[in-house]
Amino acid sequence: MSKERKIKILVCKPGLDGHDRGAKVLARALRDAGMEVIYTGIHQTPEDIVNTVIQEDPDAVMLSILSGSHNALCPVIMDKLKEHDIDDVLVAVGGIIPDEDKPLLEKHGLKGFYGPGTELKTIVEFVKNNLKR
């Protein structure tokens, strides 16, 4: 691809979780790392998120969840992506994700799991190194 190729990221807040300071800080950090970041805003249903992925065609989807509903929401999002044959998009989740929940989420293909206190450059590097296309 030519030098115009840009990394495009979707930052989402799934479910009934209004705490989006972290998502906004992350969006800003990825922007400053030279990426094109779409922030969807809060209260997104899995269907909204998958529709947005289809239309925006991002390289990565970053889900920010602090409400504890990650085990309910993330697998649904992954299943819906699969329904649409979307398998070349990195999907990461972060926020408050207890260690014991990681195996289940990993089984569904999610990555990341960064929580409070993570340095922003760690996440930027993670994104750059884990893109699927």
Binding site: S2, E4, R5, K6, M35, E36, Y39, D57, H84
Partner: protein, 331 residues
Amino acid sequence: MDYSGLIEKLLDGNTRAAARLITLVENNIDVAEKIINSIYKNTGNAYILGITGAPGTGKSTFISTLIKIFIDQGKKIGIICVDPTSPLTGGALLGDRIRMKEHFSLENVFIRSMANRGQLGGLARATDDTIKILDAYGCDIIIVETVGVGQSDVDIFKSAHTVVVLLVPGLGDDIQAIKAGIMEITDVFVVNKMDLDGADRKVADIMQMIELNETYKYDSEKIPIDFAKMKDWTPEIIKVNSRTGENFDILLDKISKHKEFLEKTGVISNYLKNRIKTETLQILKHKLTKKIEELLNSNEVIEEYINEVIEKSLDPYSMANLIIKMLENKF
């Protein structure tokens, strides 16, 4: 890479194919050329509505309300939202979707965010090509939201059939209304947030400006050809509330009135000719610039010219003329 599969799917109305083709067009102009080449004959059916205005005038919320109305009319709608790219890092934060959070279904609404990637004028390099992709995808109406523009980002009037400019009460006085630039390319003025104080004053300021245009019509001989659609049309003005949808019925009448005007007077064919001309000029500029850059970076003779300019035996204008001669020999 194989685009023909994607293009076939696009013409079938496949949403993912449309999205992927837009990405390709954004990332690589040579690929864009091939894609547009194969879909061009399937374009020209959509009505293109340009929405522009200063940052914070409510463009995204306004569009969200428009989408709802067009859905009720059974239309398929494409939306392109352009936001600025950082000149420092090349990154961008695209936030227009936040205001369009209604649960629009995938079948009749396609929203795409786009960074302008440093292009001035309020649009991105790929915007015109994306319009064509959404047109071939089957959209009846394509709404283009420009970057929150300043006073002279007027490129949208070359891409859109009807240009709607959003204004809000309390921002600028009657002098702003008679400045050149964006106020001159408007087909329909919308004073948004009509519930705020000063909405009627804003409407009056603009009316005064329009009336002035009436009594002092442009000397049509002097207007450059690409502005030709301006004459004979008196801009409409309406105040609305995008949150409640108040006055949107009147607004839509005014947009239809402009559409009818374009068709009845034949201005539309004029507009088409101009659009093709400016678009081709853009493509030529891009291609020629690339050629010239290649030449500048690889040619020994040019190194000599540069040295001569340093020694003051040549000046940059004369050097440019010499390079044009070199190019002419190549063609």
